[in-house]
Symmetry: C2
């Protein structure tokens, strides 16, 4: 079973998560057969390890992680790959793929430019 994790920075502020949760809800509506979870680097739960463990228990054999970062710094380039290395050791039968950060996607860049050019 294939599953998706949206991996964001996290915040103490519960409202902070709403846009990422909206993406998860949209995925669930579009592809109800694909389990989707949000996971966070810090300041809120679940973390990536907990989300992956839960999906593995539920039968996921392949998890695709989308880093929900517009800026691509240490969190996306170093912290996430390190977490993923640990998780691959902990779940040797699980295929764990990490996509480029969402902010690096050319279609997303183009859409953000289009949004900025829309008059209010």
């Amino acid at each position: 079973m294939h599953a998706i994790v949206l991996f964001g920075h996290g915040s103490r502020d519960p409202l902070w998560r709403l846009p990422i949760e909206a993406v998860a809800a949209r995925i669930a509506a579009t592809a109800p057969h694909i389990p989707v979870r949000c996971a966070y680097l810090e300041l809120c739960t679940p973390d990536l390890a907990a989300a992956v463990a839960e999906l593995a228990r539920a039968g996921a054999t392949s998890i695709q992680v989308l880093p929900m970062f517009l800026g691509v710094g240490r969190h996306a380039r170093e912290d996430l790959p390190e977490l993923v290395r640990d998780l691959r050791e902990r779940h040797p039968d699980l295929r764990l793929d990490v996509m480029p950060a969402v902010g690096e996607n050319p279609r997303l860049v183009a859409l953000m430019a289009e949004i900025a050019l829309q008059p209010l």
Copy 2:
């Protein structure tokens, strides 16, 4: 003259800014008559005040600020409005509009969901 500011969190890591700068480059290529600047809340320059002052000196009479945040917490809901209030006092002849954070845009939410569903 209308101008655009892309307002992001900022990071010490110079690579962090590349996706936001790619959006600015895309805007400049699409609408070369509209000046566009990136500005940051912290950890790198220019800050919002410096970007707005530079655009005002260059003749901008209306600046539209797009908050480049996927998560919408204190930075987007409190820090940015406070900065904008100060700037409106400092530039009474300038029209300064703040868009909803880019992560709240329904088309962006839909595209991020679509990206997450693409096989690697």
